[in-house]
Structures are given as C-alpha cells and as structure tokens.
C-alpha cells in the first residue's frame, strides 16, 4: 500500500511539487503568524512586568503614545509640573512614585542621539533587576552618571572615567555600568533627577511619573484620584497592554484571514490534484478493484496520497517558517507601536505540532471526496476498451 502511495505521488512530479509548495507556504504563514502573535504578547507582558510599573502619570495628550514613549525611554514634547510628583506620593494607594526626566540630545554633526534620563532613588525600587557590571548602582555625587551596557561600550567608559556632554557643557564621572538588560535601559545615560533638570534647563518639570501601587486592586480608585492632578493623566499598564494587543489584534485578524485563504487554497490544490488523479487513473483503480482491492483500500490509498503530500508540505513549511522568520519579525517590528526587545518569533514545538496536525487534517478532508469517488469505481470499467 505504501509503495503504491509513493508511486502515485511520484508519477506526476510537477503536479505533486506544486501541491507540496502550496501546502508549504500555507503552513509557513500559519506557523509564523501564531508564533509571532504569542511571542509579541509574551514579550509585551515581560517588558511591562519588568518595568515594575502598574501605571504612568503622563502629560495631557495621547496617553498611550506618551506611555509607550516613556517606557522606551523616549522623550515627550510636553512636561508634567513637579507638583504632580508631590500629589502622587500623597495618594494613599501609591507605594512608589518614581519621577523621570527624559532628554534626547541629538548630535547633528555626528548623526546620533544621546538619551539622558534623570531619576531619583525611587527608580531603584521599580528596577530591582538592575545589576551593575562594574562600579556602583547609584550616584555618590550629583555629577555622576550610571551607564547602560551599550552606551558604556560605545563610549568606552568604565567606573571612574570622565564623561562629557558637549551639548549640556557638563562633565560627569562614571559611577557604574549596568549589566545588559535587553531593554532600552542599555542605551541610556542615567543621572540624578536634579542634575538632569538643571543641565537640560527643565527645572521644576518631569517627563512622567512611574507608579507602583500598594495593592493592584486599588488601581481604579487611584487612577480616578490621580486623574484630577492638573496637567496630568493616568494610563494603567493593563490599559496599555490591552490597547497594544487590540492594535495587534486588528492586524492579526487580517493576517489570519490571509492564512485562512492560504489554507483553503492548499486544500483546493490537494482536492484538485487528487480528483485529477482519480479521473486520469480510473482504469488503474478499477483494475485494482478487479484484482481484489476493497473499496476501503482504494479509499485509504487516496487518503494516504493526500497525507503524504501534506506531510512533506508541512515539513517544508516548518523549514520555511524558520528560514524566513527573522525577516518577517524584523519587518513586523517596524510597524508595531511598542515592539518589545528580544526575539518575538518563538516557534515552539507546540506550535509546530499544532500547525502540522492542522495541515494534515486539511489534507485529509480535501481528499475525502476524491477518495470516495475512487472507491465507488466499478471493477467492470477495467474490462472496457479505451
């Protein structure tokens, strides 16, 4: 039986290859889509969890855009008054309120931008995972700087070295270098908040306040109170996550529709291939029936052909998904409003098995009618002349 199945598939090589390619593309699209969706959700959750923040107080404007920018250490055009920090810290539900002053300093001649973030001691409470590669985790004096792993490598700095900011005309001493975290912190110069306000001419203002609550269940009432602070608005991490996932969800639905089309096309290809094979091989199948093959055996022969084509197509699809995954991820990351760092396309064995089984199922379903038709052939056809 297996030899017969192989022979049937290989007897029409071009048609088999086309069918096989269609299944491979459909499977690859499906795997990439599911893997990217899961990877994005986990990555976003990980990044938001890692930020140690439950809500952000940001200046008036689009709260999600503001929060996304702040989480990626990007600056905002508007600022919060420093009085908002006092009001936030006085709120009974707030455990930690960490002020941030973010300054992006472009070097026009050098075509690069430095990201300076002013923080106070409360930032350490929100970033307990911060570890230093060398030096200290905190500033001993007001003109010290803690460097992210990338900037330390680019500026070739170690603790104790000098670091000058030509734009702010200010010299710092490197207090410490952070271990690589895989977040935007790797590209940041951290300095004391008061120093940042002074050297960047933003005394009395903040870019945002990161908030951790005493109890996450108090989020709703705390948000309602904090929302009353003049010039400020609250965005919770849950809302942010929901918004980003909704944005992704819309794209995902579209791509899922494309994947569904790919699967339907694959199914139709299998259907077409097998139906053509049945019509072309009517006499051959009738001979099989005449020499004793049962209807069930003929039926299984055709189903076997479909499964063989689908199996190899799915294997090729898996290889294609791995091969093109990094390209798809790089392209998709450019479109996303908040792309978490790290690898997003996590093709797990679970996804591979799920997609392969789906491909096999689609193949088997598509083969049902041609297989039934083949099994209904009368042995007498074999005796008819051409």
């Amino acid at each position: 039986m297996i030899r017969l199945i192989f022979r049937s598939v290989t007897s029409r090589p071009l048609r088999s290859i086309l069918t096989f390619a269609g299944i491979a593309i459909g499977t690859a699209v499906l795997i990439c889509l599911i893997a990217f969706g899961e990877g994005y959700r986990h990555g976003l959750q990980r990044e938001l969890d890692r930020s140690g923040v439950q809500m952000m107080l940001v200046p008036l404007g689009c709260p999600y855009d503001a929060a996304a920018r702040v989480l990626r250490n990007n600056t905002l055009e508007t600022a919060l008054p420093e009085a908002a920090l006092r009001a936030t810290r006085e709120d009974p539900a707030v455990a930690v309120a960490a002020p941030l002053l973010i300054a992006a300093v472009p070097h026009r001649n050098d075509k690069r931008t430095d990201l300076w973030v002013g923080i106070d001691e409360t930032a350490l409470l929100l970033k307990p995972w911060w570890t230093v590669k060398s030096g200290n985790r905190w500033f001993a004096t007001s003109n010290e700087v803690v460097l992210g792993a990338d900037v330390a490598a680019v500026e070739m700095r170690a603790p104790g070295d000098k670091l000058f900011s030509p734009e702010a005309n200010c010299e710092f001493r490197v207090a410490g270098v952070l271990n690589r975290s895989g977040t935007s912190d790797d590209s940041v110069f951290f300095i004391p908040l008061a120093t940042a306000q002074s050297v960047f001419g933003r005394t009395g203002t903040l870019t945002a306040i990161a908030i951790r609550l005493k109890d996450p269940a108090l989020a709703r009432e705390a948000a309602a109170r904090l929302q009353r602070i003049p010039g400020a608005q609250v965005v919770t991490v849950t809302e942010m996550m929901g918004t980003f996932l909704n944005l992704i969800g819309a794209v995902r639905t579209l791509v899922l529709a494309l994947a569904a089309i790919a699967i339907v096309v694959s199914a139709l290809t299998v259907f077409n291939t097998l139906l053509s094979a049945v019509i072309e091989r009517t006499r051959e199948l009738a001979v099989l029936r005449a020499i004793g093959a049962s209807r069930a055996q003929i039926f299984l022969l055709l189903i076997g052909e479909a499964l063989l084509l689908t199996l190899f197509g799915a294997l090729a699809g898996i290889a294609l998904a791995f091969g093109s995954g990094s390209w798809i991820e790089a392209t998709a990351k450019g479109w996303l409003p908040l792309a978490p760092s790290g690898v997003l396309l996590s093709i797990s064995p679970h996804i591979i098995i799920r997609c392969s089984l789906l491909a096999l199922l689609v193949g088997a379903i598509a083969a049902l009618y041609p297989a039934w038709r083949a099994s209904m052939l009368q042995p007498a056809i074999a005796t008819k002349s051409e």
Binding site: N109, V154, E155, N169
Partner: protein
C-alpha cells in the same frame, strides 16, 4: 523530471527541515566548561557616519565604495608582534571600505572607535593603495571644546599623512605635540589614543592586505 529526482528533492527538504527544527528546538544551551570564563562582550561596530563628506575630503574622484570584512583571528601572532600588545577581541575582524573610481581602486577607509579622555572618539582613516595614510578625520567625539579644537586641528591631523604601518606615532616627535605653552594640554591622552588607534588600524590593514597578497601568490604558484 524523473520520479527519483522528485523523491530525492522531497527527502532533501524533509532532511533540511528536520535539521533546522533540531538546531532550533532540541539542542540545549551550551555552557562554558570552566566557570571562570567570563562573558566577552564586543562593542558595537563603529559606523562610518558621513561617507559622502569624507569621500569628498579624501577621495574627490570616488564613484563608489564597497564594504569588506576581513577576519584576522588567524593572524593574531603577526598582529601581536606588530602592535606590541595582544590584539583585542574587536581586532579579530577589520571592516574595510574600498574606494573606487569605476573599476579603479583609489584606496580604503577605516573607521575606529578609540577611548578618549571624556568619551569614545571615532576616527576615520583614509588609506592610499600603497598603505600610507591619505588623511585622518574625527567623525565623532565628546571632548570639551579646548580639547576638541586641538584634536580636530588641521595641522595636527595633517601630520598623519604619508605614514604607514611601520611608522612611529609618538606625540611631539613623529606627530605634532598637542601641549600648549600656557598649561599642559588636557588633550594629550585623547590625542595619544587617536594616534595609537590610527597606528593599530594601519597594522590591521597591512596584515589583511599581506594575507591577500600571500594568497594571491599562492594561487599563482598553484593555479
């Protein structure tokens, strides 16, 4: 197309798929055998930020440039001899920008980051086809203005022109001194870092070119 070819193609694809899946999914993360081996973290490659500006300055006739990465890890002994120190991990590879005017080679540009007194300094070195310096420019730095003025001074940078990998790069002897009469110049450590960086680049380039020529001669001997 024969059945055998089709079968072979299917088997090859299935085999490739199995290998890819195995390499991505099944193989556990390899750990160093010795716990004392520390993680080696390389600095990001220094980019060439202003090719157009530098080409206009050093190779006005250039029509094109191509990038070429040379792996020098097999030349560590020669590098160590010529540099007078152990090559760093970053020096295992050299990114060369080959400058051409149509098909004619005009020279090369190398870009390197050196440790300045107040931050990284990115140095662009333009090299003649014979390995001598055609020009040096500072593309990025974060030195205070008095130091920046000295290390960007045209006459100080001009003293590099014509030097090759065998030349000495001592400040005040082979290159101009950056110490001003008023006070000992704070620019000296950064200037020395630039000089050392340019010399190292020239040596790396010369070793890479020698390896090329040796390979070429070998091919000519044994076509």
């Amino acid at each position: 197309m024969t059945r055998r070819t089709l079968l072979l193609a299917v088997l090859v694809i299935a085999g490739a798929a199995a290998l890819v899946v195995r390499s991505r999914v099944a193989i556990p993360e390899l750990k160093p055998r010795a716990q004392s081996i520390s993680e080696i973290e390389l600095a990001p490659i220094c980019p060439w930020r202003e090719p157009r500006r530098d080409l206009t300055l050093f190779f006005p006739g250039a029509t094109n440039y191509t990038r070429e990465t040379r792996i020098l890890s097999g030349k560590r002994v020669e590098l160590q001899q010529q540099l007078g120190r152990f090559p760093t991990a970053e020096e295992n590879a050299l990114l060369i920008h080959r400058i051409t005017n149509n098909a004619q080679a005009l020279g090369a540009v190398l870009v390197r980051r050196v440790k300045g007194e107040h931050g990284g300094i990115e140095v662009v070195t333009a090299i003649e086809p014979n390995g001598a310096i055609r020009g040096v420019a500072i593309q990025s730095h974060r030195e205070p203005e008095p130091i920046a003025r000295e290390i960007r001074a045209t006459n100080w940078l001009a003293a590099f022109v014509g030097k090759n990998s065998h030349a000495a790069f001592r400040l005040g002897e082979d290159l101009l001194e950056v110490t001003s009469a008023a006070k000992p110049s704070a620019a000296k450590p950064s200037a020395q870092a630039i000089a050392d960086g340019v010399r190292s680049e020239l040596i790396l380039f010369a070793v890479a070119e020698e390896a090329d020529q040796a390979g070429h001669a070998h091919h000519q001997k044994h076509p």
